[in-house]
Symmetry: C2
Subunit: 249 residues, 2 copies
């Protein structure tokens, strides 16, 4: 078994209103069941999710948090605005975004954008993935899977890795439970989060700031299925032991 | 930019004393700077890290934990024996292994082994990776990177993904900090945990129970460097906010 992963060449600097599907299809010949992995930054830019810092008036709360964490109060305000729930204020701002993803700073990125502007996450990453997948089908008649990624830190392990925040044409996990291993034992291995593993794979090629080469195609893994949405990957609050401990903390 | 990932064919069932480097080199022609990714299960088996459940006498503590978590007290005892620190007893047993990796059940795997035996993690995964890398060099004169992987759950996200637990000939992270993005901004992006991203990449090909095809080669990403060990990826306790909250729980 094998697969290839490669960057889509010649993606220009993306701006508000750009048609990502069109840009991708112009620069690469896609095949059925390719997995098209896109850094959230360019999806956000195409959707105009860019805010000038000067337009943000930080609240007292944002100013307090920013002082404690040695951050920019305007960025903190933007994070608060994008969040449904604040899990940890310090030493870093850990939030649940309005899309139910728990991450630091609501995924807001201050790099790869002209000085003085920040890039938010796409408003509805699952919806963005679906739109791009459908637009690719309109242009090429190819059925592909689409994964939109962010880069997140992890509990217990340093560094950051690519994760899926919006998906279409693929399910978040594959389930080995119930199948049998080489010895005939029933496997108890739980769900494998394939969309996150594919996001990590693509992140190896995205390069600096996810902008020089923000689109990667993974070819040879056939995970295409008519399905939408990443959210089943996020724990219901009642099951989330770590969130619980941090909030009680 | 692109890379390929492929399974090494014809890996037999691995038993104590088997020479993994020899088995791998017999079945694939390696190139300089290939990344050889190996599921920890087969490394553990080659090293004889397999224990018959019947040989384990569970302590009272193991019996209590097993009752609460609806587990097997002998498996719980094996987990306690492999652990340096218990972070959470319930609803699952989250521990720090003697190799400083924080994971559920000390990575002990009850699948893919003849009924009645469990597979522990390799005793010293960084050492195992180094030995395999050096043995591959002895056989082929090729300098490769070696990554030994486990499959771990994550905070905040359901499902499990491949992670690196032992490495050789590669550094755990690459650091974008200080380099500049397309707009000339200095990137603040922290370390990218490339060894975990490569482990996730390989996990997509390992297949059921990581045993049918437990060795994957990633070719085309050149991360080779003379370096040893994954441990700098693990937070010092003083910096580990999540561990702290769980222990105080």
């Amino acid at each position: 078994m094998h697969f290839n992963a490669f960057t889509v060449p010649d993606i220009p600097l993306v701006e508000r209103g750009d048609d990502l599907a069109e840009i991708i299809c112009k620069n690469i010949r896609l095949c059925d069941h390719d997995i098209v992995v896109i850094a959230s930054t360019v999806v956000a830019k195409a959707e105009g999710r860019v805010t000038p810092l000067a337009a943000i008036a930080p609240s007292n709360r944002a100013i307090t948090i920013a002082e404690r964490n040695e951050g920019d109060p305007r960025v903190v305000q933007a994070v608060l605005d994008e969040s449904e729930d604040i899990i940890l204020e310090s030493p870093f701002l850990l939030v649940k975004t309005r899309n139910d993803n728990i991450c630091v700073n609501a995924g807001i990125d201050g790099s790869n954008i002209d000085s003085g502007r920040i890039v938010l996450l796409p408003e509805d990453p699952d919806g963005s993935a679906k739109n791009i997948r459908e637009a690719i089908f309109s242009i090429t008649a190819k059925t592909v899977s689409v994964i939109i990624t962010d880069t997140n830190g992890r509990a217990f392990r340093g560094g950051q890795i690519g994760v899926a925040i919006g998906i279409s044409g693929i399910t978040p996990t594959r389930d080995w439970r119930g199948s049998r291993d080489l010895f005939g034992n029933v496997l108890e291995v739980a769900n494998e989060a394939i969309v996150d593993e594919i996001a990590a794979t693509a992140n190896l090629l995205f390069g600096e700031g996810s902008d020089g080469t923000p689109v990667v195609v993974v070819r040879g893994l056939d995970f295409y299925v008519k399905a939408e949405g990443v959210r089943e990957l996020y724990f219901p609050e009642s099951d989330d032991v770590v969130r619980d401990a941090l909030v009680r903390g």
